[in-house]
Amino acid sequence: MTDSIAAPPGDAASLHRSSGGPLERIQHTLHRYPTLSPALVLVLSCLVFAWASDGKFQQPFNLGIMLQQTAVLAVLAVGQTLIILTAGVDLSVGTAMLLTHMVVAKMAADHGVPGVLALALGMVVGLLLGAFHGGIVTKIGLPPFIVTLGTFYIYNSLGLRYGEAQTISKEAIGEDSLLLWTSKRVTWGEFNITAGVLVAIVLYIAFGFVLAKTAWGRHVYATGDDREAARLAGIDVTRVLISVYMVAGFIYAVGAWVQIGRAESASMNAATDINLQTITAVVIGGTSLFGGRGRLTGTLIGALIVTTFTQGLKLSGVDAYWQNFAIGSLILVAVALDQWIRKVAK
């Protein structure tokens, strides 16, 4: 007690400021740099797993593998980010990709369509699916959650029926086909990544640029932030929304291409968890489910966190039950953090 009374005035002053001080400063910093918190989580978790896995985690081989395991997730998460930025959500992103990749692979396998054409056809399919989503959301006014919940089931059943529940092998696709280009390897010693990883990186650079530097990018943010305000500010929000869903459709096709390279085959049984994983990556990456705020860099970090957690926990010998527990906790923390940061504004 006597100590605290005798404390120098400087301390007392800083104590006084702390009532709305350091914590609020952190809050403001995180608000200003939304990718900061996911970046910290990624770095921290890497350090923890490097220690907990007895050095297996940071082997170049494993790091390369984790990038390969992230590629499809990261690609689809770009589309998911755009849609969530408009305050929507796409529950069917994974099955839409799988349906597209079945079409692309079957075209090549059953009809001998060259890779470029099959891929172009996949783009058309993806764009049609996206336009379908966007059309229902804007013209009929159904919530994106409902629309894509419905299409999730529809695409799954269409894909199974169309693909006859078979796995299309790389031999059937044709090992020289452009479709399998995404499985090609770049190697530096033990570290190796596939061309699919490079496709994902290019996609992030391209869309990071589009979101930050074009009027369309700003309109996406504005539409998600406050749709009515955007409309009154002269933005054609219907066009923005449809275009976002169509861009997501284009990304289904890119994801399909990367997935065919990743699995070196095509099957509706592949990528089982990816629908929700994309949402997880976006949310952990600091993009708000309420729309209007978030960064693609955050999503990329979020996707890497998902892989880091699953692979890191495995290499550390943690029981499988706790792997999903950890991811689930991370989602809750991320969303709670988002809410807290948003309070700054209010």
Binding site: I65, Q69, K106, Y162, T167, E171, A263, S265, L315
Partner: protein, 385 residues
């Protein structure tokens, strides 16, 4: 009154199927030549619809009704089962209703199908149970006088069914384990176990896994509580071993690949890979190839489907696989229901087992002394899928 609601449900199924068929109609026509299964697969929901109309009209003509309830329609294993059942139903004059869950583990759809079978006055149910949740419904069916036969997967409570028609999965695992031990010839075994799941205990998964380890001479007894409980190091019948990992694959190519990658991250010197099925084996092989480790590794698997299964054995990707016969399960099961319905005897279990063994055979291009096997060509002549 109850029949009405069942009828409605079946009509709904028929309508949905019709929609889907309409959407895919063009594709089916185009691919029918390339893939013979296209037509039968497309015909399947129609058969359901036909059955619905037939039964809604009453069972006055005395046709025996049988419901085949599958885990899902996405696995070729079950598709093959359905195809065999449809062919057999036609031959026996049985009215067949095929139902399935949306995915593995979807017991709600299976329960609805069991209830529909009871309401419909079917004489028997053939089911691949997706989980223990179907057990009360199956017991109700038995009480209602239906002959209930589990296919492929026995329920955890044996009294839920009259009998199980299945592959002896433990034996299947033993066969590939013995073959692998013989093939190693005393070399140290560094083993990756690529299972089905790691977050649920499924008997098929556990039996194959432990059968394999038993065949290798690592485990003595069967432990139904799950995988991964073997000592991580020790000696097998031919020398030293180390189990590096037990990873889940979901029985799919990409799952097998990711699992193998994780195992290689833990130990790059793996030279024995057990896989739950051949798609997982394909994925494991891709991961090994990518890491430049494919040459020294032995891959052993279970299933024996035509493709990718036996193709991979023929190509030397998989060293040996234990082949099972899903078509047999469905046709033998249906024949048993028909026989009982016609006043014949009820089916009985295989001697020494608690189920009816529909057979398993080791298929390999490299026969090992002391391990009975058939050639790839023989296997291909009777494979499923």
């Amino acid at each position: 009154m109850k029949n009405l609601s069942v009828k409605r449900r079946l009509v709904a199924v028929a309508m949905t199927s019709a929609l889907v068929l309409a959407a895919c109609g063009g594709d089916d026509e185009e691919t029918a030549e390339d893939a013979p299964t296209a037509e039968t697969a497309a015909a399947e929901p129609t058969a359901t619809a036909d059955a619905a109309t037939a039964e809604a009209g009453g069972d006055a003509d005395g046709a025996v009704g049988v419901s085949l309830i599958l885990k899902n329609t996405s696995n070729p294993f079950f598709v093959s089962m359905a195809n065999s059942a449809e062919a057999e139903a036609e031959a026996l004059g049985v009215t067949l209703t095929v139902a399935a869950g949306r995915e593995d583990g979807d017991t709600d759809s299976q329960i609805a199908a069991i209830e529909a079978a009871i309401a419909n006055g079917d004489r028997g149910i053939l089911i691949t149970p997706s989980g223990d949740a179907v057990i009360p419904a199956l017991k109700a069916a038995r009480e209602a006088g239906l002959l209930v036969i589990a296919l492929d997967t026995p329920p955890s409570d044996a009294s839920a069914v009259d009998i199980t028609f299945a592959t002896d999965n433990y034996l299947a695992g033993q066969l590939i384990g013995q073959w692998t031990a013989a093939k190693l010839g005393g070399e140290k075994a560094t083993i990756a176990m690529l299972n089905l799941f790691n977050d649920q205990v499924v008997s098929v998964d556990t039996q194959r896994n432990q059968g394999f380890l038993n065949g290798m001479g690592i485990l003595d007894e069967y432990d139904p509580s799950g995988n991964g409980k073997e000592p991580p190091t020790g000696s097998y019948s031919g020398g030293e071993y180390e189990v590096v990992c037990n990873e889940p694959t979901n029985g799919a190519v990409d799952g097998g690949k990711s699992a193998m990658e994780t195992c290689l991250s833990q130990n790059p010197d793996i030279n024995v890979v057990y896989t739950i099925n051949e798609p997982a084996a394909q994925g494991a092989f891709d991961a090994l190839t990518a890491a430049g480790k494919a040459d020294g590794a032995i891959i052993a698997s279970v299933d024996g489907g035509c493709d990718p299964g036996l193709r991979l054995v023929a190509d030397g990707v998989i060293g040996a696989t234990a082949q099972q016969y899903p078509g047999q399960m469905a046709t033998l099961g249906m024949a048993a229901i028909k026989q009982l319905a016609d006043g014949g005897a009820a089916p009985e279990v295989t001697a020494g087992l608690d189920f009816f063994n529909t057979g398993v055979a080791l298929v390999t291009g490299e026969p090992m002394e002391g391990v009975e096997s058939i050639s790839v060509e023989e296997g291909q002549a009777i494979c499923w899928g």
